[in-house]
Amino acid sequence: MEAEVIKAELVLPTHMSFKRIQMYEKYPKGQSKVRWKQLKQILQAEICQNYSPDEPNYVNIESPPSMQPCKRICDITGFEAPYHDPRTNLRYANADVFKLVRSLPNEYVQRYLALRKAAVVLR
């Protein structure tokens, strides 16, 4: 290991005196990795517990959808977008942007759409 790396103590030591169980004992090398429950699974388990709906929990404190009309902005420039291109599904502000929209390769169109989670996802 290089001197400057050691000096900066960049690498975490594998043995810690203050631990009762060391990392290498808990997760031995070569053993299949522990599969941690993703948040979705954790929440699924919570829902299965059938808690009373009056009690606040992680799921029910979530915000509802907005009541305000959806703001439409130009996907490229960020200006207000009165128009919508039916071919690419992009919103655009004016004729100049429209020209740009039509000249964009499909990959970029999809990336712009993905920004507002409107891209076509092929599974």
């Binding site: 900066a8 005196s17 631990k19 703001k71 902005i73 200006f79």
Partner: protein, 724 residues
């Protein structure tokens, strides 16, 4: 830069008695750890873990937090990026969490056999019991801590600022964090989680949005937009617009103010060394060198020429002398005489003599005897030259017959040449006549003539272009935004026709009995396939020649005329090499205009990034409505103490915007006051530190035995009292 890491190892760990709690603010972006009662955390680092491979030894190592990026050059980070223990704002990956805690305790200076201190650690609002119990288990089992307390970071921040008189005991805490934004109502100094509200949007989304937008806007500089750099850009330049639509209009119109608000990041760029025009002296020097070289070459050529002339003259003299001698020699001695000189006969000598004379003339630069004259002469003495032609065959010997054939051939070719010349002359005359007519017409009515010429040029140009397009047919009908070039568009017309014939042929033969070749017409197909579509090329050539003529004529008479790109030389547009423009300073500038307020705007309108939830301002209304008591006075008290904390509340203009937003939603005349935390980033830790230092803190903690005896349901209900 509000976020500064501190990772120096602390040396005074043993100074603290086991009763002193350790306070941890376990945020999704930053991890902060320190001692209860102190005002600053001891260790701060980004809550991430990397597990790269060491380049020279090949072992996988663990690197926690952010370090000097220069040191990472010894590691191969391509396989694994930075990883976080969080999914949204909930800890789920406890292996990573353990690495983080290892590093944190190690840097705090821990050296005993266990962490013999109470721990206060923050968690998200309504943390799922699974995550909470795993965290408690990790702390008790692996580190052997004395006791644990869980609290919410935003609440600690609120309590800390309440103590400093920033906010009241009733109020709303708004905490736009890294991955989520919370609104927590406070009644009598205690958070009411029932009225709580969470939108899944935060600083992470803003940075990601900015990163994506910039990479789409500047695809060439994509590599520049690292997460850290974009985070810096966001903190330095982003602001909340008072009114998004108005601000966007300002930029759309352009003008001074928009220009003033536009930021520009100049990437390192070194101008290409420009070619300085050479100085006078340099030009003179070069010219002199060229002149000298030319002189030398000329001298060499001259010397060569004179030596050759000399040589030729010598040879000539020798030959003449030989001829003279030959004249004196007796007829029968000629053979023996000539064998000495190397020539076969007198004729040969004479031939050589004429050759040498010619070469000499050429070397001396005298004009060749005129070709035309020669031909004239040849013309005049056809009968002399071809004496055998008119003699009947039967009167000739075989050798003479051969000679006659040769003469006939020669005569035919000469005549052919003559005719071609004649035709050329005639054409020349014709052209002359045409130009003269043209000129006359022009002089009659210059304006009309010019117009006619122009229309003619246009027609011809279009005709030629059209023909070319038909031949190559590249990408002219391509209007689709995909920009891709399909197979059909890559082939030219001839190839496509061939393709069509082949497919139809294959298709026809595909079904039923194969009868191909039974009819004679079938074989015509091969002819068609083999043929290139050059059949109309003659017409094309004529048109092109005419176009060139008209174009040159127009250039002569109309100084403003600029010919369109040479139609004969141009290739299909797709294969043409694009004109490369030298890169300028402007190509290395990252301009932040609308992006400056477009990105943080997603806090108020999460649907801009496809998250269908309410924004900051509406969240307050949702939160108040969720409260069990519909007391109007309480609502007024809450809105008159709206408190902002968390990293994203650092954006300039967020207070004003939030105030305006709440005013729109609340009943008219509601008192509204929005305040920002003293330090939105560190106050949560400070509040927790103050809380843990209280003498009654130990009543809020639970021990290992509590954890195992009381069960999961109790742990789920567990909640500290924030007012001690």
């Amino acid at each position: 830069m509000p976020f500064i890491s501190k990772i120096q190892r602390q040396t005074d760990y043993n100074r603290f008695p086991p009763s002193t709690p350790i306070v941890i603010d376990n945020g999704a972006s930053y991890f902060r750890i320190g001692w209860a009662g102190e005002t600053e955390p001891r260790v701060i680092f980004r809550n991430i873990v990397q597990r790269p491979r060491h380049k020279s030894t090949g072992e996988t190592v663990t690197i926690v937090g952010d370090h000097d990026p220069a040191l990472l050059k010894y590691f191969d980070c391509t396989r694994s990026g930075p990883r976080s223990a969080f999914d949204s704002n909930v800890v789920f990956q406890f292996e990573i969490m353990e690495y983080v805690l290892d590093f944190a305790f190690d840097r705090l200076g821990a050296n005993g056999s266990r962490i013999d201190h109470p721990i206060l650690i923050t968690e998200c609002v309504c943390n799922p019991v699974h995550s909470r119990s795993k965290m408690a288990e990790l702390l008790f089992e692996t580190y052997g801590v004395r006791s644990v307390a869980f609290g919410v970071d935003a609440v600690f921040s609120y309590k800390y600022n309440q103590l400093h008189g920033i906010c009241e005991k009733d109020g709303l805490a708004i905490c736009p964090g890294f991955t989520t934004t919370h609104v927590i109502p406070f009644v009598d100094g205690e958070p009411v989680y029932k009225g709580c509200c969470r939108s899944n949007i935060g600083g992470y989304h803003i940075t990601d949005y900015l990163k994506q937008l910039l990479s789409l806007k500047y695809p060439h500089h994509m590599a520049r937009f690292t997460w850290e750099k974009v985070e810096d850009l966001k903190m330095e330049h982003c602001y909340i617009a008072p009114d998004y639509a108005l601000e966007a209009q300002l930029f759309q119109k352009g003008g001074k103010e928009a220009e003033y608000k536009t930021r520009c990041w100049q990437l390192p760029w070194v101008p290409l060394p420009t070619e300085e025009p050479p100085s006078e002296a340099e030009i003179a020097r070069k010219a002199a060198i060229r002149e000298r070289q030319g002189q030398r070459l000329r001298e060499m050529a001259e010397a060569k020429r004179s030596s050759r002339i000399n040589e030729l003259e010598n040879q000539l003299q020798g030959l003449e002398f030989l001829l003279q001698q030959l004249g004196q020699v007796q007829e029968e001695d000629i053979q023996s005489f000539l064998s000495e000189t190397g020539y076969g006969s007198k004729l040969e000598i004479e031939l050589t003599l004429t050759k040498v004379t010619q070469s000499l003339r050429k070397a001396k630069g005298e004009p060749k005897p005129d070709q035309a004259e020669n031909e004239e002469k040849a013309d005049s003495c056809t009968s002399d030259k071809y004496p055998l032609i008119n003699v009947p065959d039967n009167m000739l010997t075989p050798e003479q017959l051969k000679e006659k054939k040769r003469q006939i051939f020669l005569k035919i070719t000469t005549e052919g040449r003559q005719r071609a010349k004649q035709k050329r002359v005639e054409e020349e005359l014709e052209r002359e006549r045409k130009t003269q007519q043209d000129e006359e017409r022009r002089l009659e009515n210059p304006q009309l003539y010019l117009e006619q010429m122009h229309t003619k040029y246009k027609e011809l140009y279009e005709k030629v272009e059209q023909r070319k397009r038909l031949k190559t047919n590249g990408g002219h009908t391509n209007g689709s935004s995909s920009g891709g070039v399909g197979r059909g568009e890559r082939l030219n017309a001839a190839q496509r026709e061939r393709m069509r014939l082949l497919t139809t042929a294959a298709f026809d033969r595909g079904k039923g009995e194969d009868t191909f070749g039974a009819k004679d017409e079938d074989w015509q197909l091969y002819k068609l396939m083999g043929k290139d579509n050059d059949d109309d090329d003659d017409g094309a050539d004529e048109d092109e020649a005419e176009l060139a003529r008209v174009s040159s004529r127009l250039q002569e008479i109309d100084p403003t005329f600029v010919p369109k790109p040479e139609p004969t030389a141009s290739q299909p547009a797709a294969t043409e090499v694009p004109h490369v423009r030298p890169l300028t300073k402007e190509d290395f500038q990252i301009v932040l205009g609308v992006e400056r307020f477009r990105c943080p705007e997603i806090l108020f309108h999460p649907n801009l990034v496809g998250i269908d939830q309410v924004g900051l301002d509406e969240m307050t209304g949702v939160s108040i409505r969720r409260l069990p008591s519909k007391d109007k006075a309480l609502a007024n008290r809450l809105t008159s103490s709206v408190f902002m904390t968390g990293g994203c509340s650092l954006f300039p203009g967020i207070n004003e915007r939030l105030e305006a937003g709440i005013r729109m939603l609340q009943p008219c005349g509601s008192p509204i006051k929005v305040v920002r935390a003293l330090d939105p980033v560190l106050d949560a830790w400070r509040g927790a530190s103050l809380y843990a230092a209280n003498s009654r803190f130990h009543q809020q903690t639970f021990s290992r035995s509590d954890y195992y005896e009381k069960g999961e349901d109790w742990l789920r209900q567990y909640q500290v009292r924030y007012t001690l």
